[in-house]
Structure formats: structure tokens, C-alpha cells
Subunit: 69 residues, 6 copies
């Protein structure tokens, strides 16, 4: 039962339900293909994080997006 | 100061405040009983995750619950 | 690309956008000062957690705050 | 399939295999008792962390233990 | 810069360096394909966990493997 | 009791004990300065990750370092 945790910014309305289903399926398939186990047991948890709470190089994504406009 | 992090799906209205209090108490007690430390310092953090964002075997819990109906 | 994840209780209206910007900047600077790398690549993710979901010594922060009143 | 992650310091030779088995069992039981689910699916992962890498109040546990001697 | 964290048991000598390279590449590709971003910035971190420290249904993987023999 | 978790690659012999002490102190100070709490209770946990297990843009740090030579 491998665990795969994804942390991504919540932007432009966020990931859709369909994108999350596809992500869960694709990440699981990638693991199974390489290690030949986990098909039924791989757990995927997706955390969508507000851009105020996510920073790179000391700058929040909110600020980076503002500067990109 | 052991840290215990619980990730669980948010279903049926979610865990109640009382269930979370009980969970924090019971998990802490379990740790203390076995290791004889952490009584005042164990930290418990509970993450409730949307069923769209939690998957097993490549399928989101949302989808699994729909199929179970 | 070091990753710094902060988990803190969401209290008194929560951290402001400015506090989070400052936190991201200061934590990144601290890392860079010590290890001399990560200036542009350090990722900071801040999780604000409901006080019902955060406990210490087997008691939720919600309960601890009530008793402190 | 709730996930329970424990982070604890590795001290005095570390937790024994038996203690870890007991911890996994007790934490799982605590969850099941309160939420009435997860009996077969709860995942417990235990991270034992070097005391050099674990700090409280800005001081590593290594340093705290030295001062306690 | 999405982050993908994989936790898996360390078994049979553990994942090889090649498998880990492939895993990092495949997980990144899966994310990029669905969200059309993250190609250069997705971070993948793989934690291999001792089977004594990984349990499901209240039983460590060490014990489960012994019973499967 | 805020929690600060740092994940960084283990390179060039790894962070020294002194660097880790300094990191724990500086990160704690940064938090305290901004939020005016957590002085005695902030927990810092540092995870040093093998460069085979850490990737960016689908490439492990091991590979990136080899190409930089």
C-alpha cells in the first residue's frame, strides 16, 4: 500500500473533480508499472494549497502571480 | 513530544468535535502506555480530506462511494 | 530546493497574508544563511489547522483555549 | 483507509519491533473504536528521527538531553 | 512547483536507483500531462520505510510477510 | 506549538550537528518574531533525504549533480 501525497496550489478555480480522478489513476499506474505492486492498495491524497500559503524563493505564489500580470 | 498526524476522509458531515477530542486523547494514551513518555507533549493533528482528493487503487473515494450505492 | 512545511493553528482570524509573506521570506532566509543554497528554490508551505483538529497532551487546542478563559 | 503517521525521536536504542507492533495495533484500535471503520485498512507509519534532527523551543533534543544529565 | 511525496516499504533490497529515477520521471509526467504545468519544477521525494515501521490493519508489514510465507 | 518540518537533500557529508542546531534556532526565532508565540513549544524536524530519492523536474538530484560535473 504505497502512499502518494500531492501538494499543489489551488489556482484558477482549482483542479476539477475529473482532473483529480485522472491524477489518482495515473500516479497509481505509474507506481504499479515500475514496482509491479500496489494496484489495489496505492493511496493517493491530493492537498490543494491556497497561493497565500505556498511560496518559492521566499515569495508567495500570490505575489509571484501578481508580478507576472 | 511525539507527533501523530491522522489523515482521514471527510464523510457524512465529518468527524464531530467530540470524536476529534476523543481521538486525540486515545491516540495520546496509546503512545504513552507503550513508551511511557509524551503524556503532556504528544501533538495530534487531524487532517480531514475531501473524498474527491483521496483515492485508493487509482479510484477516488467519491467514485467508490457512488459505486457502493 | 529544500522544502519547509509549517503547521500552525488557525486562531484569532488566522495569519494575515502579510504575516505569511513574511514567514515565507524569513524561513527561506534562515535556511539560505546556514546552508548557502536554496535562495531561489526553497519551497515554504503553510498549513493552518482548525483548533478542533490540533491537540497537545491529549487535549484539543479548542478545549485548552476554553479552559484558559 | 485512514493514515496515521507517528514521528518520534530515536532514543536509547530506539523503539523495539514489539513496541512498534503494539503501537500500530493500539493506534488502529483507537481509530476503529471511535469511527467504526478502518479495521483492515488503517495504515500506520512510524518515523524515528535522530535527536540531532528534532528540536523543541529552538533546541535540539540532543542538546536538551545533554543539559538534563 | 507541485510536490509529490511517495512513501513505500523498503523490501527485497529496496527500490533500485533506476526504479527511483523512473518513478520520479513518470510521476512528474503524469502531473504535467493533466495540469499542463510543473515540467521543470515538480519535486518528487521518495521515502522508503522499514517494514517494522509500516502497518496495515494494525499489523506491521514485517508480520504480514512472515504470515505469507 | 507550531511544527516546522524541513526536507533537504543529504549532500557533501550532510548537514553538521551545529548547522542543524542553528537551523532549529533560526526557524523558531523567525516564527516567534512574526506571530509572537511558540518560543518554547515550536517543534522543528529535519529530514535529510538521499539524492537518489529527491527529484526535480523528473530528474533525481543524483543525476542532476552528475550532469553538473
Amino acid at each position: 500500500m504505497p502512499l502518494i501525497n500531492v501538494k499543489m496550489t489551488h489556482e484558477d478555480g482549482g483542479a476539477t473533480k475529473e482532473q483529480k480522478e485522472e491524477l489518482a489513476k495515473e500516479l497509481t499506474n505509474a507506481f504499479v508499472k515500475i514496482f509491479n505492486r500496489g494496484q489495489n492498495s496505492t493511496v493517493v491524497i491530493i492537498d490543494e494549497v491556497n497561493t497565500d500559503n505556498y511560496a518559492i524563493g521566499g515569495k508567495t505564489i500570490t505575489k509571484i502571480r501578481e508580478e507576472q500580470k
